[in-house]
C-alpha cells in the first residue's frame, strides 16, 4: 500500500509533556487520503492529547507535522481549520442556543453589505443549511432556524459532521461521536462517516465502543501510555478480542 503520494497528514516523533507528565512519547502517525482510521486506547492512553495536538488546541513539545507533504505549525484551532483539519469534539461542537444555520457557519459567517456595516447573510446561510441537512439525510423536516438545543444527540452529530463536510475539510476528527446515542442514531452517524469517506474526506474516529469502530474503519491505531503500540490493524483480519488485548497490553509483547 506504500504509494509514492505523500500522506494527507503525517505526524513525526511528536512529544508532549504536561509539566512532568509525558503524555505523548515519540508518536508517529500517517493518515492517507480517503481513509478512516480508528484511534483506540484506554483512558489516559494519550488519544485526546494526540487529537488536541493535531487540531491545534494544545501545543506539542517537539516533533513535526506535515500536511500534504508540507510541514505546518499548528498554533491554534484556526491554523488547523485553515489546514483542512476539522475536529468534532464530543458534546462541545455546537452552541445549543443558536440555530442550525448559525452553528454551521459559526466562525465563518457569510456576510453581506459594505465592510463596516456588514451583517449576516441569514437567508443564504439558511438556504445552504437546508440543502446540507437534506444531503446528510436528516429525514425529518427540520427548519434550519431550529435551535440545536431542541435536536436529538444523533441529529447534533449529523449537523457537526455536515459542517465539516461542507467546509471541505480534508481530515475530520470525530471524538466519541457515538457516545450516548441510540442504536438508530449510531447507525446514522456511521453512515455519515462512510459518506464523508466516499466524498474524499479522511477521518480519525475515536470511540470506546470497539464494535462501532469495527463497522466503519479501514485501519486501527492503538495507543497505550502515550505511545502508538500498533498502527496497522485491519478490521478484516483481526478480531475484537485481539484489539482489546492490544489496548490493555495483555498480548504477548
Amino acid at each position: 500500500m506504500a504509494g509514492t503520494e505523500a500522506p494527507l497528514v503525517e505526524m513525526r516523533n511528536i512529544q508532549k509533556y504536561y509539566g512532568r507528565v509525558h503524555a505523548l512519547r515519540d508518536v508517529n502517525l500517517k493518515i492517507k487520503r480517503g481513509e478512516i482510521v480508528g484511534l483506540l486506547g484506554d483512558n489516559g492512553a494519550g488519544k485526546s492529547t494526540l487529537i488536541k495536538v493535531l487540531s491545534g488546541a494544545v501545543p506539542y513539545t517537539s516533533g513535526q507535522i506535515f500536511i500534504n507533504g508540507q510541514e505546518v505549525n499548528l498554533r491554534s484551532t484556526n491554523d488547523a481549520i485553515a489546514s483542512g483539519i476539522e475536529t468534532i469534539y464530543q458534546d462541545s461542537a455546537l452552541i445549543p442556543q443558536l440555530s442550525i444555520a448559525r452553528n454551521l457557519f459559526l466562525g465563518r459567517e457569510l456576510r453581506k453589505g459594505p465592510g463596516f456595516m456588514d451583517r449576516l447573510d441569514l437567508d443564504r446561510m439558511k438556504e445552504v443549511a437546508a440543502s446540507l441537512l437534506k444531503r446528510v439525510g436528516i429525514s425529518k423536516n427540520i427548519p434550519p432556524s431550529t435551535a440545536i438545543g431542541s435536536l436529538s444527540g444523533g441529529e447534533r452529530q449529523a449537523v457537526a459532521i455536515a459542517r465539516a463536510m461542507y467546509f471541505d475539510s480534508d481530515l475530520i476528527i470525530l471524538d466519541e461521536p457515538t457516545n450516548n446515542l441510540g442504536v438508530a442514531e449510531t447507525q446514522g452517524v456511521l453512515r455519515f462517516v462512510r459518506e464523508a469517506r466516499d466524498t474524499g474526506h479522511s477521518c480519525i474516529f475515536i470511540a470506546h465502543n470497539i464494535h462501532h469502530v469495527f463497522q466503519v474503519v479501514d485501519r486501527m491505531v492503538v495507543m497505550r501510555r502515550g505511545s502508538v503500540v500498533a498502527d496497522d490493524i485491519s478490521p478484516r483480519t483481526s478480531s475484537i478480542q485481539d484489539v482489546e488485548d492490544i489496548i490493555t497490553g495483555e498480548h504477548a509483547a
Binding site: S55, A57, S76, T77, N78, I81, T87, Y89, S92, A93, L94, I95, P96, Q97, L98, R102, L106, G107, R108, E109, R111, D118, R119, L120, L122, A147, G149, S150
Partner: protein
C-alpha cells in the same frame, strides 16, 4: 435608523391561545404580557398613570438605567456580568466635571477623557476575567470598590458642580429637551432608542452578535470554531463600562450634580431588568427587546406603585416578586421548549 424602533412598539394585547405555540420560544413574551397587565391594572386604579406628563417623566428617569441595561444584556449573553456599573456611573461624571472645573478643559475633551477612563476600567475587568480566569462576580465586585473608593477619595465625598453646563452644546446634545405636542422629550430618550435599535441589530444580525451568543452558549465550542471569545468578552466589558459612564454623565447634567455616591445599587437593578426581560443569567440567550420591556416594567412599577397609593418603601417587595415570578416563567418555558419536538 429613524424608523420607529421595533423595541418600542406599543404592546399588543394579542394573546390568542393559538399563538402560544410560536410565542413560547420568544423570551420577550412573558415580560410583554406582564407589562400589559401592569399598564391595565395601574390605569384602572389611577387613570393619571397614563397621562402624558407621567409617562414623559417616567421615561426620562428610565433611560439612564436603561442605557446600562442595554450593554449588560450583551455582556450577560456572553456569559459574564458586571457589578461595577453603578460605581462607574458615579465615578465618570466626577472625572469629567473635575477636569472641566479644575483643569479648565473644554467639556467635550473632559467628556472623552471620562469615557476613556471608563474604557480602561472595562479593559481591566475583561483582562482579569479572560486572562486570569477569575469569575466576573469577584473581579467586578473588586472593581466596584476600587472605582467607588476613587470617586469618594477624589471628591472628599462632596458632589462636583455642573451648573456651568447650561450653555454647552454637548449637554444639549446629551440631555436637551424638546416638546412633541405636550410631551416633553429629553434627548437622552432619543439616545436610548437609537442605541437600543443598534444593539438589537448587532446582537441579532451581525457576526459579532453571533459570536456573543456563541461565547455565552458554549465557550469551548466557540473557541474550537475560531471565535475569539476572550476578545469578545473584553470588548463587552469595555462597552458596559463606557455605557455606564455615558449614563452617569447624562444623569449628572440632568440633576446638575456629579455626586460620587450616585449609582449605588444600580448594578443589581440593571441585572434585574435584564433577567426580567428574558436574558439568561447563564449566558447564551439574550434579547434587547426583552431588556427594553424589563426596563419599562421596573420603572413603571416604581412609578405606578406610588400613584396607586402603595407605600414607596414597599417597592422592593414587588420587584423581588416580579423577578422570582419571571424566573419561574422562563424556567417553565425553557422546560416546555426542550420537551417539545
Amino acid at each position: 435608523m429613524t424608523e420607529p424602533s421595533p423595541t418600542m412598539a406599543p404592546p399588543e394585547p394579542a394573546m390568542a391561545a393559538g399563538l402560544t405555540r410560536t410565542l413560547i420560544n420568544k423570551p420577550e413574551v412573558g415580560p410583554l404580557v406582564l407589562l400589559v397587565i401592569m399598564l391595565v391594572v395601574f390605569t384602572a386604579i389611577n387613570p393619571a398613570f397614563v397621562s402624558i406628563t407621567n409617562i414623559g417623566n417616567a421615561l426620562t428617569f428610565t433611560v439612564e438605567l436603561g442605557l446600562i441595561a442595554l450593554a449588560m444584556t450583551l455582556l450577560m449573553t456572553a456569559g459574564e456580568f458586571d457589578l461595577s456599573v453603578g460605581s462607574v456611573f458615579g465615578f465618570s461624571p466626577v472625572v469629567m466635571w473635575t477636569l472641566f472645573n479644575e483643569a479648565a478643559l473644554p467639556l467635550p475633551v473632559a467628556f472623552l477623557a471620562a469615557i476613556l477612563v471608563a474604557l480602561v476600567i472595562g479593559l481591566v475587568n475583561g483582562l482579569f476575567v479572560t486572562r486570569l480566569r477569575i469569575p466576573s462576580f469577584l473581579v467586578t465586585l473588586g472593581m466596584l470598590l476600587v472605582v467607588r473608593g476613587t470617586a469618594l477619595w477624589l471628591t472628599d465625598g462632596f458632589p462636583q458642580r455642573t451648573w456651568k453646563a447650561d450653555d454647552q452644546w454637548l449637554s444639549k446634545v446629551l440631555v436637551g429637551d424638546f416638546y412633541i405636542g405636550s410631551l416633553r422629550v429629553y434627548m437622552s430618550l432619543i439616545w436610548f432608542i437609537l442605541l437600543a435599535v443598534l444593539f438589537h441589530y448587532v446582537l441579532t444580525r451581525t457576526r459579532f452578535g453571533n459570536w456573543i451568543q456563541a461565547t455565552g452558549g458554549n465557550p469551548v465550542a466557540a473557541r474550537n470554531r475560531g471565535v475569539p471569545t476572550a476578545r469578545v468578552k473584553t470588548a463587552l466589558f469595555m462597552l458596559s463600562a463606557a455605557m455606564s459612564a455615558f449614563a452617569g454623565i447624562i444623569s449628572s447634567i440632568r440633576v446638575s450634580a456629579a455626586n460620587p455616591n450616585s449609582g449605588t445599587g444600580y448594578e443589581l437593578e440593571v441585572i434585574a431588568m435584564v433577567v426580567i426581560g428574558g436574558t439568561a443569567l447563564a449566558g447564551g440567550r439574550g434579547t434587547i427587546i426583552g431588556t427594553v420591556l424589563g426596563v419599562l416594567i421596573l420603572r413603571l412599577m416604581r412609578n405606578g406603585i406610588v400613584l396607586i397609593g402603595v407605600p414607596g418603601l414597599a417597592y422592593n417587595i414587588f420587584i423581588g416578586a416580579i423577578i422570582l415570578g419571571m424566573m419561574a416563567l422562563h424556567a417553565a418555558l425553557e422546560r416546555r421548549h426542550n420537551a417539545g419536538d
